[in-house]
Every structure is written in C-alpha cells, then in structure tokens.
C-alpha cells in the first residue's frame, strides 16, 4: 500500500475526531492529543513490517471507515440471544457507543462498573494511573488511533478483596457497514480481588466494518482475573485488538482468546509478569475458514522471579484461510525460577489452508524451566479410520476430531453457558465444512 493512501485514510479518520473533543478531564484530553499527534507520524503497516509479515491489511484503507454518525436504537429483544445468562453485569456498546438502555449494572458485589464518561468524574484518581498506562502505543498505529478516539469505554474496578461470583459481559455490537469503532476497556482488579470478564465482539450484520479495540488489565497483588475474549465479528470485518495485562505479586491471570469471525483479525496480547510469583495461562483458539485470516501475536514477559506461564494456542484452518501465530516468551535476566511452557498446535483441514507459527523463547536468566513447541498437521487418517470402522461416516469422523481439537481450549472457559454456546459454534463450523 502506498504512503499516500495510508495518510489519506488516517486523515479521513481523524476528521471525525475533531467533532468530539470538548469537556474532558485535562489529563485525558492531553493523552488524546498526544495520540492524535502520534497518529500523524505513523503509517498503516505493510507486509514489509516484520510484525505484519503475513498479514496484509492494505485493503483496510480501500474504504474510508469513519466512526458512526448515528447509532441505531436496538431493543433488548434484538440482542438478547447474545446475553450470557450467568452475567449479572452487562455493558453493551453499539457501533462503539455506550448503550445504557441495553446495559445492566449490578453493584451488589461491591464492584464499580460502567462507562468511562460516567465514572470518570468520581473515580478519576483510580482510573488515571491505569488508563493508557498498560498499552503503550509507541509505534503501534492502531493503539494510537484508539487512544486518539478515546471518549468512552468500559471501566471495571474490583475493589480490594472483593470476589465477583458472576461473570461480567462486555458486549460490542457492530451494526453498520463501513464504520470504525474503537472499543476501549479498562479492568482494574485491586489486591486480593477476583473477577471474570467476557469481552464479546458481535456482528449485527454481515457487512464490512472495522473494530479497533484496546483492553488494559491491571491485576494487583494476589488478585485473580479470568479474561475471556471472544471475537465473532462479521466475516467481512477487520478486527484489530491490543490487549495488555500487567500482573503484580502472586497474582493470577487466566486468558482465553477465541477468534471465529472477521475477514482479517489481529490480536496483540501482552502479558507482563511484573512482580514476583505471578502466574498466567494464555489460551487461544482460532477457528477460521474460506478466506479468513486470523493473526495472533502474544508476548509474555517474565520480568521478575518465580513467575509461571502456560500457553496453548490452537488454530483450525479450513478452506483457503490463513492463521498466523507469533508467540514470544521473554525471560528477563532477573526472572530466575521462571517456569514457562508454550505450545502451538495447528490443524489444517484442506490443502489450501495455511498457517505460519512462530513460537519464540528468549531467555536471559539461567535458573529457569522453559519448554516450547509447535505442530502443524492434518486430521490423522488412522483416527478417521478407527471412527469409520465403528460406523461413523467420513464427515462425522472428521467433525468429531475437529471438534475435539478445538474443545480442548473451549473446555477451559469457566462460564458454562458460554462454553456450551461455543461448543455449538464449533459443531456448526465443522458441519458447515461438509462438502
């Protein structure tokens, strides 16, 4: 893609920016202005950028995706089927805008949850140390764009020693074509707290749009956060996400990332084990077909000693789809007694399906336990024969094995209705591949 096109696109996007900026907290408007300046200096990446080698997003700039000018009035009945029944708190955003009428906030457990503009006046002191502090945009044009457009977003604060028993659902619905939304989430788990958050991206219509999300998660000392990220955007959409979790002393972060939708998706997930004894599990599943591309870049950074990380990333690739996994694990010089393992497993269902997987370990400490590995394969013909010899059709056998491959990740989701929903989605996926 040419530089001209890129800049034209960005200019177009920023035009909508000026219409919004008024009445804000000074620190926030300063943050935004800096981001706007940075956007002016950066370009949309091309395949020449090492970080984007396999993912060509040049088609993103073919259409000047603006932020939504009008927001449709959705009724609860329109979106109810997307509700996770266990969730007591649900925040709904439509085309990037907070929909208070569709949202339910239950504070019984003691949590503070809501949209940024509502909570900012009262909780500025709690928000300021975190917002924009975990995801640093640097050269990352998409994170910078998101920050430039940071007017509203999700804020969840789980106060010290509070355990929230029911999951919190963050539902982002895209309903309009050729619109860009910049979802922003901030999750602050204070010391000793425990929370499960489901970040859920859904298509209201099978049209082309852009989701450019940023999520920041702070897991304080001894806190425990389950974060489930579900990308089921339209198969014509672009989904770009930057997510960073910062883990404090003896904290625990369990992350599950499922990518089902989007024409092109890219997730940058960054987990910082910033203090001693932090623990994380990072699970990923990309289930794609036709001409979809799902790119997951993860970076697990062991900064301090006695950290533990477990990563399992799986891709199931059908049709002429393309999965990319780039998983870097860094063990800093100080991070002795790190225990880390990383596995990338990939299933290619057709001859045209493609995967590029690159697990990387960079170890600068000597007393560590680290293992990593990657496999790419097809369904095992001996397994298929075994199932057929018991009466299952070729297709039923293939479906069962494909399902089993994905189920290993889905079974780790600690929200039962969501788990069932996704198991169903995988079944439908495997069945739709029937020729």
């Amino acid at each position: 893609m040419s530089e001209v096109a890129s800049n034209h696109y960005l200019e177009g996007l920023l035009k909508t920016y000026s219409q919004h900026s008024s009445d804000v907290t000074p620190w926030l408007s300063q943050m935004r202005n800096e981001a706007v300046d940075r956007v002016g200096e950066l370009k949309i990446p091309t395949k020449r950028d090492e970080e984007w080698r396999f993912t060509d997003i040049s088609s993103l700039t073919d259409i000047p995706f603006q932020t939504a000018q009008t927001i449709p009035q959705l009724q609860p009945a329109d979106i109810k089927h997307h509700y996770i029944q266990e969730a007591a708190t649900r925040l709904v955003f439509v085309d990037g805008h907070y929909a208070s009428a569709l949202s339910t906030i239950n504070n019984d457990s003691g949590i503070i949850a809501g949209n940024l503009s509502m909570l900012l006046p009262s909780y500025s002191a709690k928000i300021a140390p975190h917002l924009g502090q975990h995801v640093s945009y640097g050269d990352n044009i998409f994170a910078a764009l998101n920050t430039a457009f940071l007017h509203d977003g999700v804020v969840i604060i789980v106060p010290q020693n509070i355990s929230v028993s029911s999951p919190i659902q963050l539902l982002f619905i895209a309903t309009q074509k050729e619109v860009t939304s910049h979802p922003r989430c901030l999750i602050i788990a204070e010391p000793g707290s425990n929370v499960t958050v489901v970040e859920d991206y859904i298509a209201g219509q099978e049209v082309a749009y852009v989701t450019n999300a940023v999520t920041e998660i702070s897991v304080a000392d001894n806190a425990h956060v389950n974060h489930i990220r579900l990308q089921r955007d339209s198969n014509q959409a672009f989904h770009i996400a930057n997510c960073t979790a910062t883990l404090a002393h003896a904290s625990n972060f369990q992350s599950i990332n499922v990518a089902l939708g989007a024409r092109i998706s890219r997730l940058n997930l960054n987990v910082q084990l910033a203090s001693e004894g932090a623990e994380c599990a990072v699970n990923g599943l990309a289930l794609i077909k036709k001409r979809q591309l799902a790119d997951t870049h993860t970076f697990i950074d062991h900064i301090k000693p006695h950290g533990t990380s477990r990563q399992l990333h799986k891709c199931i690739v059908d049709g002429a789809a393309h999965a990319v996994f780039n998983g870097k694990i860094m063990v800093q010089p100080n991070a002795q007694q790190t225990d880390s393992s990383q596995t990338s497993r990939n299933l290619l269902l057709t001859g045209q399906a493609q995967v590029n997987t690159k697990p990387q370990l960079e170890i600068f400490a000597d007393d560590v336990k680290c293992a990593h590995g990657a496999t790419v394969g097809q369904l095992d013909p001996e397994e298929i024969f075994y199932l057929k010899s018991r009466g299952l059709s070729e297709q039923a056998a293939r479906n069962l094995l494909t399902y089993a491959f994905g189920a290993e990740i889905i079974e780790r989701i600690p929200v039962i209705s969501l788990k069932n929903q996704l198991e169903q989605a995988v079944l439908e996926y495997t069945q739709s591949t029937e020729s």
Binding site: P381, S389, G391, L400
Partner: protein, 264 residues
C-alpha cells in the same frame, strides 16, 4: 459351533492384496458360516492383521485380486462405515488413541449410528449411560473409562477391553478379534474371554487372531488356520493349536513341501 444347516456369513475367495505395491496377501480362501469360531495363527508378519484390516476396509491396502462376500453381498464395494453398520467389527491389534474425544461420546455416537441403520431408536446420553454401564459390568470395566478420551493413556490391556466393550455395544455379525489376548493379564484374559463367549451365538461368527493356545482354552474354536506369507497353509480343528504350541510352525512348511507322491 458348527451346525449342518448354517449358511456362510463370510466367503473370502482368492484374495490378493498389496500395500504400496508390495504383495502381502497372496491368495486367501476362507469360508465362515454363521455360528462358527475360526482361529487364525501364524508367524509375525504372515499377514493376519492385513487380512483383518482389509475386511474392515482400511484404505492403505489395495486388493489386487479375489472377492469377499459378506452375507451374500460384495463386501469390498462397501465403505468402512457401511461395513461396520452392516455388522463387521474389528477389534484392533493396536487400538488407536484419540485425544479430546470422550470415550462415552464416541461410544454413544457409534452405537446410535449402528442402531439407526438397524431401524432402532437412538439413546439419549442418560439412557446410553445406563446401557453402557451394564455392558461394562460384563467386562468388569471401571466406569471411569467413560469420561476419559478414547484409549488415551489406557494400558495395553485396558485398550483391549475397550475394544470388546465396543463389540458388546455394537452387536456385530462378524467379530474379528486381532490379538485381543495379547496385553491382557491372566484374570483379564478370563474376563474378556467370558465376555466374548456371551456375545457369540448362532447369529454371528468370530475370527480370533492369536499367537497363544491359552486364549483358545477359553474361547474354543471350530477351526484353526495357519497363515504364512500371505496364505493359509494349513487348516485343522482346535487340536491343531495344541500341536502348534508344542511343535511350533516349522514342521508345517516341511510337511506341505513334501513332493507329491513321495509319501507313497
């Protein structure tokens, strides 16, 4: 059991087969009637498992000549799943592990597929659970095996029991047990053999591939066949197995090789 009026269930006629162009089966003739139990013995690599897998429809083997008639139909024209649904069952010598597929889910899927084929009702998960637990009792199997992935991490003997459990569930007409006895401890051998004996009757037939006479003490064969380099070189009654146990296989070749007329 041999009965005079029974009709053939399986007829293998002049079967030749190869894998990657290498001939493995070189003319097998074998007829099995309803109600009969046939043991197939023979040295390692003689083609016993190849025969078993060809009957089950494994695609790695090319049939180059011959016919297989199953219950009057051309078995070789059927896909593996069609063979299974019409009653062919192979208990594998090396049952494969299938990580991620729960054993109970797999067993129920297989059971319901075969039931549907027979025009019978499917069982829902709860009904099936009761049903499979009954069958497991027959084999003195721990119900914990239902919740594990198919054969994953099962010991050699546990895998073999899981195979016979599938046979008990699917109620096939032709049971092909490929070295089901190897890997079983002495008690397990007795239990599994008892299970098999309860499942064999005048409406089905069984092929037992084995290296050991011991199994045949429990499951008494009507015929014993000896295979060597892709052919059946000798057929006898159950006493042939005893003779093999004491004399080994060498003498058969020698006996067969005696030029015609020399013995006169």
């Amino acid at each position: 059991m041999i009965t005079n009026n029974s009709k053939p269930l399986l007829e293998v006629q002049g079967l030749h087969a190869s894998v990657n162009g290498v001939a493995i089966l070189k003319g097998i003739d074998l007829t099995i009637n309803y109600g009969e139990i046939h043991a197939i013995m023979g040295i390692n690599g003689s083609g016993k498992s190849t025969l078993a897998k060809i009957l089950a429809g494994h695609s790695a083997y090319q049939v180059t000549a011959g016919n297989v008639i199953f219950d009057g139909k051309d078995l070789l024209a059927l896909a593996p799943e069609e063979r299974a649904r019409s009653g062919v069952f192979l208990a594998f010598q090396y049952p494969i592990e299938i990580p991620g597929v729960a054993n109970n889910q797999f067993l129920r899927l297989a059971y319901n597929t075969v039931q549907t084929q027979r025009g019978k009702d499917e069982l829902d998960p709860l009904e099936f659970d009761d049903y499979v637990r009954e069958k497991m009792k027959l084999l003195e199997m721990n119900p914990d095996f239902l919740d594990r992935s198919v054969n994953e991490g099962f010991s050699g003997g546990e895998k073999k029991r899981n195979e016979i459990l599938q046979m008990a569930l699917l109620e096939p007409r032709l049971n092909i047990l490929d070295e089901t006895d190897s890997g079983l401890d002495i008690d397990a051998l007795r239990i599994v053999a008892n299970g098999v004996n309860q499942l064999t009757n005048k409406d089905n037939a069984t092929i037992l591939v084995t290296h050991y006479q011991r199994l045949l003490n429990y499951i008494v064969p009507d015929y014993v066949h000896v295979m060597n380099s892709g052919r059946i070189i000798k057929t006898g009654g159950k006493e042939l197995a005893l003779e093999l146990e004491t004399r080994g296989y060498d003498w058969i070749g020698a006996e067969e090789n005696i030029p015609e007329g020399a013995a006169l």
